[in-house]
Amino acid sequence: MNREDLLRSKEYWMVQVQNELYGVIENYMKKNNLNRTGFADKIGVSRGYVTQVLKGDFDHKISKLVELSLSVNKAPVVNFIDLDTFVKNDANNLTYEIYPIYREETISFANQKVNSKFYNSYTNLIPADETKVEAVLISSN
């Protein structure tokens, strides 16, 4: 098995999700001074269920994953990244982080809705040529 095989395997991604979930719950329990029983009582599940999650063996429904996440005050932000790109970036030691960015404004231009960031960059570069804006079209009515 090479690195690419690993990154393309189901097992790799299961381990990521299971242990990320473990991490946020473990941190929450420490921060709130809760043991497994206390945490189970707080979120209304059995102690055995919590034990399974803390073993890094969580394999339940998406709704349970979301419930658990919300119960420890975490937003379960999900991102799907093109796998070929991910593998390629990994080979170049590029990893992924989630961070907040400002919501981009969509503005009307030439009777079409375009992304303001692209509009500004394009109009700065090619101020007189409106047709070029079509290349950065986000949506149209």
């Binding site: 790799y12 299971q18 803390l54």
Partner: protein, 141 residues
């Protein structure tokens, strides 16, 4: 005295490097580039695994990859098994029936043995014997 070299485990990539121990045969001719032909303990472990363990092996590697990236790991998947008084830290990685044993060196983990749940006692003994031989070999070089 046994001779060893370390080889990077290419499937694991992170902030912390993971190496596998390569035990050199006594008759090896290093001038003939024979070293390439000698498999490390991790590669050999993977090749010797029965088909039914291949999926667990991918999970185990993913767990080690998380450790390499200093990411959260369930205590059921990774634990420090260093005996009291021992200076060089010993790690055990677990996934279902599979085990990996390694030691902590500066900014790296050296995998010394791959093992099985039902052979833990024997594997641990073999791991510590190999560890002692390796540490002795680097003391004298």
């Amino acid at each position: 005295m046994s001779k060893f070299v370390k080889r990077k485990i290419e499937t694991i990539n992170g902030k912390q490097h993971f190496f596998e121990l390569v035990v050199l045969p006594e008759n090896i001719n290093l001038k003939n580039n024979d070293l390439k032909e000698v498999k490390g303990v991790w590669k050999q472990y993977e090749e010797d695994l029965e088909e039914k363990y291949k999926s667990s092996f991918r999970s185990l590697t993913a767990i080690m990859n998380r450790k390499a990236n200093l990411q959260s790991l369930s205590k059921d998947k990774f634990r420090d098994i260093t005996p009291t008084g021992e200076v060089i830290k010993e790690y055990e990685f677990k996934y279902q029936d599979l085990r990996a044993y390694g030691i902590k060196l500066p900014n790296e983990v050296l995998v010394i043995l791959g093992g099985y749940k039902n052979k833990q006692t024997d594997d641990c003994r073999q791991f510590r014997a190999l560890k002692a031989k390796y540490l002795e070999s680097i003391k004298t070089t």
